[in-house]
Symmetry: C2
Subunit: 146 residues, 2 copies
């Protein structure tokens, strides 16, 4: 018998509204048991799961993608350190990529917007590798590495 936490407390602890928690459940991101009177009771590990969801959202992942990531967790037991660490490590490249994108943006914005070249297809910020159209139309630099 694990302590079971009501939705209000989970909401308070995670900063996620109760309505959002119900929504997450309807979307298959989290689960709950029910009390005698049909109210949700959460396993403490669910709080970690919810924190994970929030962090993932900060990274720009959609709930769909997050659910997919969460599906790699074991269902028959409470996820342990190793499980979570594995998940976290998968994000490393994604985080590095985002940081790189922002650094490029920062380092070039002044000169690039300032000089007006942001309007040209030859701009390094907009087309870092000069491969125009290689990934469909439009500026792409900010998303792609040098």
């Amino acid at each position: 018998m694990v302590p079971e936490i009501p939705i209000g407390i989970v909401s308070e602890r995670t900063g996620v509204a109760s309505s959002a928690l119900r929504y997450y459940e309807s979307e298959g991101l989290i689960s709950s048991e029910r009390s005698e009177g049909n109210q949700r009771r959460y396993h403490p590990a669910t709080i970690r799961r919810i924190s994970f969801i929030k962090v993932a959202q900060q990274l720009g992942l959609t709930l769909d993608e997050i659910r997919e990531a969460l599906e790699s967790l074991p269902e028959n037991r409470t996820p342990n350190e190793r499980d979570w660490t594995r998940l976290a490590r998968n994000w490393r490249p994604r985080i590095d990529e985002q940081i790189g994108m922002l650094e490029r943006l920062r380092d070039r914005l002044d000169g690039c917007i300032g000089c007006g070249c942001l309007s040209l297809r030859t701009c390094k910020l907009v087309n870092p590798d000069d491969q125009l159209g290689s990934h469909g139309p439009g500026p792409r630099t900010i998303i792609e590495p040098d």
Copy 2:
């Protein structure tokens, strides 16, 4: 008489769909003149403006915020280097902040998610400065500096 560019070309050059350009106009982010036959004709400077909008979106700004930023540009003349540079500089802190947030995330994710402390309000990732509730409920670290 400045060369006036039709919407399709602007779309092609910026990678923004024509429908989106019309939408931006309806939202007051860009403007256009009209041809004899009532078709939109854009000033070349508008392309730079649109690129700016795209970059700003990458930074997570809403169109509302972007419009506000753009309103600081002069309306009676084509914005020059100085105008754009000033705008770009305003973003510097914002970009730095985002980079910082991601670096903190990267540096702590392994240990933090791994050890399970992500579920606790004392976690550094979730509450870096231990000022619980100082900005409303919920984890905030990823958004705030050390």
